[in-house]
């Protein structure tokens, strides 16, 4: 019984840092493909707006 408990605690101790590392990696790389494309579209649109304004004659 005690040995089983020690085994479970050992497994939790081993897996917790791995799980934390995995979660951190997921957070960093976080974006889905859809989010990446949405970000790219927003950037393109913002660039288009800036350049359209700056191609004009206004000071």
């Amino acid at each position: 019984m005690a040995a089983t408990l020690v085994g479970i605690i050992g497994a939790i101790n081993t897996l917790t840092p791995l799980a934390t590392q995995l979660i951190n990696q997921l957070r960093q790389s976080g974006e889905t493909d859809e989010q990446v494309i949405a970000r790219a579209r927003a950037l393109v649109q913002e660039t288009r707006q800036i350049t359209t304004e700056d191609m004009g004659d206004q000071a």
Partner: protein, 158 residues
């Protein structure tokens, strides 16, 4: 008349054929992570061009192109904005191509995207302006987009 043994053999043969085709197909298929990498490179290029557009405005507003509001300064800002605008339209096409990119057409899609990014850098390279600051900004943007092109080409299907 088909005997149960023959039927079982036929079903087994069909099953093995399906498994074989699936196995061979997986060897040639590209993983979804390769598609994601290409999409991220296109988004990187969009961010680079966005920075160029903002830099152009900043250089104008800070008087680097000449006195703010003067015809000379406005003309320089317009000239730079025009090439960035044209390059951005190529990039817009690249983004839409990337949006539809699938693992099954990665090589063709990658080639389409690289061509569009190269057209964008070609437009940026065509600018002839007598201002060292914006020339440096645009050169660095071209270098960064070229790096995105190189990295995109380096992405190989699994």
């Amino acid at each position: 008349m088909t005997t149960p043994i023959r039927l079982a053999r036929r079903q087994l043969a069909t099953l093995m054929m399906v498994a074989l085709v699936t196995y061979l197909g997986s060897g040639f298929a590209c993983s979804s992570s390769d598609v994601s990498k290409v999409k991220k490179k296109v988004a990187d290029a969009a961010a680079i061009l966005n920075t160029a557009a903002k830099s152009n405005r900043s250089l104008y507003q800070s008087g680097v192109y000449g006195v703010v509001g003067s015809p000379e300064a406005i003309s320089k800002r317009q000239k730079v904005a025009t090439v960035i605008h044209q390059a951005n339209e190529y990039l817009s096409l690249a983004v839409e191509r990337a949006a539809n990119l699938q693992a099954s057409d990665l090589e063709v899609g990658k080639s389409d995207i690289v061509k569009l990014l190269q057209q964008a850098t070609g437009v940026l390279n065509s600018l002839n302006i007598d201002n060292e600051n914006i020339r440096l900004v645009l050169q660095s943007e071209v270098t960064a987009i070229n790096a995105a092109v190189t990295l995109t080409l380096a992405i190989k299907g699994a």
